[in-house]
Amino acid sequence: MTHTLGRPDFELIAGWIEPGHRVLDLGCGDGSLLRHLIDVRGVQGVGVEIDDANVLAAIKNGINVIQGNLERGLDEFADQAFDHVVLSRTLQTVRHTEGILREMLRIGREAVVSFPNFAYHKNLRAVLDGRMPVSEDLPYQWYDSPNVRFFTLLDFEDLCTKMGLIIRERHVLDEDGNIVAGEDHREVSFLGSLAVYRLTQSR
């Protein structure tokens, strides 16, 4: 997926990352997130990207980018080689959801995952109106979407529990990038268009 500059989740993710940390961005697009993290946090960054044009764009951006398919494993990365492994707006495009989450926490101390929340009220509204949702965070038509997994943030949290993953932090954003706060999970899910999580392995 292609990152666009100035995305609100960039700032959130940057806030979780210490200067000098080693960061792996899976599905790094043109390398904008890593460029941002290098510029504002001085991280050591590596991206993985499948698309030729994005690989070229990332190299132009001066990013370390490894061309590869997330679905085929990440064997070239050693255990615990990174402080953070980021999967930004890409989890819904990956078929082997559990596999990729386990790989992220094999390679990294911490996983940072963001994804569009299918239970966002505008998405629900679209479905009630008889249409698949198209929004800022789900910018595709049904016939050209790279998305293969459709889930909500509550579904994701159930999976984390099943897998024994610890949610260290969660931020939910609306379509304008404003933080959605609240105690009621269903309400947050209803109001949130994009969810961003920090995960670690249980010990």
């Binding site: 030729d52 690989v55 070229l56 590869g68 070239e76 990365f77």
Partner: protein, 374 residues
């Protein structure tokens, strides 16, 4: 292709009379290296790129000769003003490696000890020996540190070797269609090629020059075999299929299928200009290449000695050095926290893809080089 050729070029010759101790235990007391340069070395001497050649390559990398305009360098499509190796920015050096047959000291050069041609007595040269010789050429040219050392196939292996043998002298290594060491299958193909030469009755134990002959049949077979491994199955299928030169089978052993015609032509052409002893030496240098041997096979430990940034590229249809082989190098560099980018380029020309003029491939190399600070 965008950009321009470098135009008319001239080969130069450098003589070295400081003996070179070789990995095999042999010594070259004196030797010559022929080389070409394109572009201008800047005042800071920070813009030099060394282009290393593969098995059958040489110093004529780009441009053409004034008296031989059809003799175009083997990697002309990537070098020149406005091309990825932009001669308006970089100073490019290409040379013929020791043991070669294009002007640098090799088996077909005179042995100063005997006055006769070296022939089979030419010592076995390894990739590390080439790198040491290239370092002396760099000294001669006043180049302390290469902006980049690059090459495809065996040329890429030299770039890898440079980065661990002279880590302070290589800022970037561009390793294309290469491997950190040969597989059993790679060595097997090389050995069949060598056997074709060694068992040719005209080989005379490598001293065929004295018999005024050359093992052309063996060299031709070696090249035909090698050539098959440079191409992809799909490409051969598209290019030749089962096409016949004549419409009907002739039920004989002459040239019938187009692919036979092509291979025989390639074999004959190669046997006409290349030296069999050089072919033997180059294939052995490939077989022996394994920098990780110094670290008990631990490539990660080997790459810890490198300080360069890396661009590694492979081609999807290259079955000689597959993308997986390039990823071994990527993994070893990542494990050391080195800067590395890796592109897996979808091109249909097998191992030979690295020589092709492909827009995406060249854009990747150009983008990487553009970010090098001089």
């Amino acid at each position: 292709m965008p950009g321009q050729s470098v135009g008319v070029v001239e080969a130069q010759r450098a003589h070295f009379d400081q003996p070179l101790n070789l990995r095999s235990g042999g010594v070259l007391p004196v030797y010559d290296l022929v080389y070409e340069t394109y572009g201008t070395l800047n005042a800071a001497k920070s813009n030099a790129i060394l282009v290393c050649h593969a098995l059958s390559g040489h110093h004529h990398v780009a441009g053409h000769y004034a008296d031989d305009p059809d003799n175009i360098g083997w990697w002309d499509n990537i070098i020149g003003p406005g091309r990825p190796l932009d001669t308006d920015k970089f100073f490019i050096v290409g040379l013929n490696n020791l043991g070669g047959c294009h002007g640098s000291t090799g088996p077909s050069s005179p042995n100063p000890a005997t006055g006769k041609l070296w022939g089979a007595d030419f010592p076995m040269v390894a990739v590390i020996d080439w790198v040491h010789a290239q370092a002396r050429l760099a000294d001669l040219l006043g180049i302390d540190t290469w902006a980049a050392v690059m090459g495809g196939s065996l040329g890429g292996m030299q770039a890898l070797r440079w980065s661990v043998t002279y880590p302070e002298r290589v800022r970037n290594a561009i390793v294309i269609a290469a491997a950190p060491k040969l597989s059993a299958q790679n060595i097997a193909f090389n050995d069949v090629a060598r056997q074709a030469i060694l068992t040719d009755p005209d080989f005379h134990g490598g001293h065929y020059y004295e018999h005024n002959t050359r093992p052309s049949r063996g060299l031709r077979l070696a090249r035909m075999l090698g050539h098959i491994t440079y191409l992809s199955d799909d490409q051969m299928g598209e290019k030749f299929g089962r096409d016949l030169r004549n419409e009907e089978f002739s039920y004989g052993f002459g040239v019938e299928f187009e692919v036979e015609s092509y291979l025989r032509y390639q074999g004959d052409k190669f046997a006409g200009y290349f030296d069999a002893n050089t072919y033997l030496l180059m294939t052995k240098a490939l077989d022996y290449f394994d920098p990780s041997r110094e670290d008990n096979g631990d490539l990660t430990a080997t790459m810890a000695r490198s300080k360069a940034n890396f661009l590694i590229a492979s081609f999807t249809t290259d079955w000689r050095f597959t993308p997986a082989r390039s990823k071994e190098m990527v993994a070893a560099l990542l494990a050391n926290g080195r800067n590395v980018s890796y592109a897996e380029i979808d091109l249909n020309f097998g191992h030979d893809s690295f020589l092709m003029d492909d827009a995406h491939y060249h854009a990747v190399v150009e983008a990487y080089l553009r970010n090098i600070k001089l």
